[in-house]
């Protein structure tokens, strides 16, 4: 039943929780009230306690997860989560989890949407009405009879949202709903949330995410957590205008147009307003550039010199298809030079991961030849693997030794390094990733962020000449991502290694990659520097449903110049401010 706008629907009183394995509480002394109809974003770095807080709200803690809970959570005015099992709270509060793969139980869209209401024991007519309405609300009517295996990530997440909507809870929690999705799927889900905001103004939404890029324009209120406590609580404009550096220091990912807005406010003290929408920031930039107060130019590092040595990877007319499957790659030829940072982008299913696996020797081409460091991957696989470091999307897949130190030592030992050299590399790697204190711990006792750093350390300790990164942004906050990129830059600088990265994150590509390849329909569509491709091939990118980084739309043709600056750091390092120009803005 919709509540009045001022009614408190979530009341958290002195809440603290400690996991059995935790040495400190995951959340402490949380006092928070959320009103009906509010759209709240709870953000913070990895390990700040956001997800723990979220699962306290719907009763998972303390009913299904062990630990010490102090304090109270009251939902929907009178339901104490300590006194009700989870299923009794379900009709008041629902939850959409981060990874769509991890929350869809049924094999069919309609069955999944109906799952919750069927669990609650509703009458059939009621079930039908709710399910049909929910499927329509998320725009999946044409896919209602699909198997979930035939859906994209965004569609799966919409199914997860719909299955909660069918139950019609007053409060809906969404835990990083777009974190594991590609940009197209993310836009789909954000669009659905925007729609729901309009269609269900009395419903309370709580989004938990360390990346606020997608949800910033929807939020009424942002709550920032750090080390288990609430450190900031206010409107988006208030927090971003007055506490930008605090948010940045905490590693909260913010979109480039917000960074640009903050920079403009700093560069032009007279600028009082703070815009949240990209189009408004662009409009402001146009005013400053057309008045002559601001000039953007490309910095010298934007120009990348041509390579001179032999390539480290060579693909010669390579084609690949799985047995009895479709062609994944067709007649692909390219070289990768020493010291290059190559980003491979493309829609899902275009062969990006297959390309990486071919490079590493995990797969062999159906046609053509692949050489890594001059060695044919089909002939001397062991030699190839000795030179390749592969950082998988899920770091847990590649950890298997008994301690952190042994894990890192495995690679150098396999390369027949002396024990002295092994110890040296282990110490260096531990220092690089900040895991010196954990060297005797079992890898799986580390937190997710630590395990990611460990996986990176195992790869770096082997000093590969070719480093493969598979979707490195998944589950990472900004600080962790920056650290990882710093490590890879170190590898390039000190060992002339080449880095190949598969990603959907165009901002990352523009900041770090020296070259990018766009795959489409089993072939290479574009191959060039990010500057060239983002600046001059936007129409081709649009045709294959790839969006350039937000800096491109912010700086494209700014000030009448026929160029764009795809990278925020380049934009501000090459910017010239003329505050003395006396023109009104």
């Amino acid at each position: 039943m919709p509540e009045s706008k001022n009614q408190v629907v979530v009341d958290i009183r002195d809440l603290s929780f400690q996991y059995p394995r935790g040495s400190v509480p995951a959340i402490r002394n949380i006092n928070l009230q959320i009103k009906a109809g509010e759209y709240v974003v709870i953000t913070g770095p990895t390990g700040s306690g956001k997800t723990t807080l979220a699962i306290c709200l719907n009763g998972i803690i303390p009913n299904l997860v062990e630990g010490e809970l102090i304090g109270e959570v009251i939902i929907a005015v009178d339901m104490n989560t300590k006194e009700h099992p989870v299923h009794e709270l379900t009709s008041s509060i629902g939850m959409v989890f981060q990874n769509p793969e991890d929350q869809l139980f049924s094999l069919n869209v309609t069955d999944e949407v109906a799952f919750g209401v069927e669990n609650m024991g509703y009458e059939r007519q009621d079930i039908i009405q709710r399910v049909d309405a929910a499927i329509e609300k998320v725009g999946l009517v044409s896919r209602r009879d699909y198997s979930i295996f035939h859906l994209s990530g965004g569609q799966k997440q919409k199914v997860a949202i719909a299955s909660n909507l069918a139950i019609a809870p007053q409060i809906l929690i969404l835990d990083a709903p777009t974190a594991d999705l590609d940009p197209i799927s993310s836009r789909e889900v954000v669009g659905t949330l925007l729609d729901l905001r309009t269609k269900e103004p009395s419903k309370t939404f709580i989004v938990v995410d360390s990346d606020i890029s997608d949800v910033i324009s929807l939020a009424d209120r942002i709550i920032v957590m750090n080390k288990g406590e609430i450190v900031l609580d206010g409107t988006p404009v208030d927090l971003l205008k007055n506490h930008f550096h605090e948010l940045d220091d905490l590693g909260i990912r913010m979109p480039d147009h917000i960074r640009m807005m903050h920079w403009l406010n700093t560069a032009f003290p007279g600028q009082k307003e703070f815009f949240l929408e990209e189009k408004d920031v662009r409009h402001l930039m146009e005013k400053y550039t057309s008045s002559g107060k601001l000039i953007f130019t490309l910095p010298p590092e934007a120009v990348i010199p041509k390579p001179k040595e032999d390539p480290v990877v060579r693909f010669m007319n390579v084609s690949f298809k799985y047995k009895n499957g479709p062609t994944i790659l067709e007649d692909v030829s390219f070289d990768i030079q020493h010291g290059e940072f190559l980003a491979i982008v493309g829609e899902n299913g275009t062969g990006k991961s297959t390309l990486m696996k071919l490079m590493s020797g995990l797969l062999q081409p159906s046609k053509g030849i692949i050489e890594t460091s001059g060695v044919d991957t089909s002939c001397a696989l062991e030699e190839v693997l000795n030179n390749v470091g592969y950082l998988f999307q899920n770091p847990d897949n590649q950890l298997f030794m008994g301690t952190v130190a042994e894990e890192i030592a495995f690679g150098p030992r396999r390369q027949n390094c002396s024990e002295e050299e092994v110890n040296k590399r282990v110490d260096e790697a531990l220092e690089m990733v900040g895991l010196q204190d954990a060297c005797e711990q079992h890898p799986f006792t580390l937190s997710r962020g630590q395990r990611q750093r460990l996986a990176a350390a195992t790869v770096l300790a082997a000093q590969p000449s070719l480093l493969l990164l598979d979707e490195p942004t998944t589950g990472q906050d900004q600080v962790a991502l920056d650290n990882l990129m710093e490590l890879t830059q170190g590898l390039i600088k000190n060992y002339a290694a080449s880095v190949i990265m598969v990603t959907h994150d165009m901002d990352l590509v523009s900041r770090y990659a020296t070259r990018m390849i766009v795959l489409d329909k089993s072939r290479i569509l574009l191959d060039g520097s990010p500057l060239e491709i983002f600046g001059k091939k936007q129409d081709i990118l649009a045709r294959v449903c790839l969006a350039p980084p937000s800096m491109v739309s912010l700086t494209n043709n700014l000030g009448g110049k026929n160029e764009c600056i795809p990278n925020f750091e380049w934009a501000i390092s090459g910017a010239k401010i003329h505050n003395d120009v006396k023109t009104a803005v």
Partner: protein
């Protein structure tokens, strides 16, 4: 391992078997997968085989995606034939053998071969009605059918969960082995699998459990704990055709039992040691 997509590719077809009420289908398969055990005469087994073949063809089932079900059965048939052929029968039964070949302790006989072939084939025949139910039923409808026959909700949930998780576990195992391979741990040859088994175990268990526990929490968040499955969006009810099939089935079962035990037909001597 067949992916669920290929495996259930026959489910979307339309035939009288597809349209059957899941409860009747379950009862039919339970009967048809048990009755052949009462028979060992090759003529009668041939009759069962033909009957099942007709049922499978009338259900428009494309065998190719589900051939995996028969591979294990075929190997077992071979095992039955080998044991049957070389089994050392008591001397008194050897009088029935038209061919005897001895080599040390091994005694190959034609009756042994004949026995192994019949029993092995019967095993394969028993798999055919299973194909009928798996290939023509949506798992969720099957689970609902079992529930309406009195199976507890929890067990129905387990049936559905196995379909959801076996592909997932297989995928995790593949990814972990792939990641280990890149780091230099192979799981290709039998020797490598044994020596590197200890490295596979923990990551495989932990990765699978971590992924699946979130799904468990998601399922609980949608009220599963209430265990109130009583009405469904996609439901079914007995039609006139279902009742007719049920009656025919009961008559058929009664007839088979009468033939076997009333008339004492269908069972030729199986020579056991």
């Amino acid at each position: 391992m067949a992916s669920p997509i290929e495996f259930f590719s026959n489910v979307e077809k339309d035939s009288w078997v597809h349209r059957m009420d899941p409860r009747v289908k379950i009862l039919m398969v339970l009967c048809l997968a048990s009755l052949p055990l009462l028979f060992s005469d090759p003529l009668y087994l041939l009759g069962w085989f033909v009957l099942f073949l007709v049922l499978i063809m009338s259900a428009k089932i494309d065998i190719k995606p589900i051939m995996i079900l028969f591979y294990g059965g075929l190997v077992m048939v071979f095992v039955y034939i080998m044991y049957g052929t070389f089994l050392a029968y008591p001397e008194e039964t050897l009088v029935y053998a038209k061919f005897i070949w001895r080599w040390g302790p091994l005694v190959a006989t034609d009756i042994g071969f004949y026995n192994g072939l019949i029993l092995g084939s019967r095993l394969l025949i028993l798999l055919m009605p299973i194909v009928l139910i798996i290939a023509t039923s949506e798992p969720s409808m099957l689970a609902k059918g079992f529930m309406k026959l009195g199976m507890p909700i929890t067990i129905s949930f387990i049936l559905l969960a196995t379909l959801r998780f076996l592909p997932l576990v297989f995928e995790v195992a593949t990814r972990v082995m792939e990641a280990q391979r890149v780091r230099g741990l192979n799981h290709k040859t039998f020797k490598e699998r044994i020596s590197n088994f200890k490295f596979l175990l923990l990551p495989l268990f932990i990765n699978t459990l971590r992924q699946s526990r979130t799904l468990g929490l998601a399922v609980e968040s949608k009220g599963f704990g209430a265990r109130q499955w009583k009405e469904f969006y996609r439901d079914f009810a007995m039609t006139k055709t279902d009742w007719i099939i049920l009656v025919i089935l009961l008559i058929f079962v009664a007839a088979m039992l009468y033939i076997r035990f009333g008339l004492n037909l269908g069972w030729s001597a199986i020579y056991r040691p």
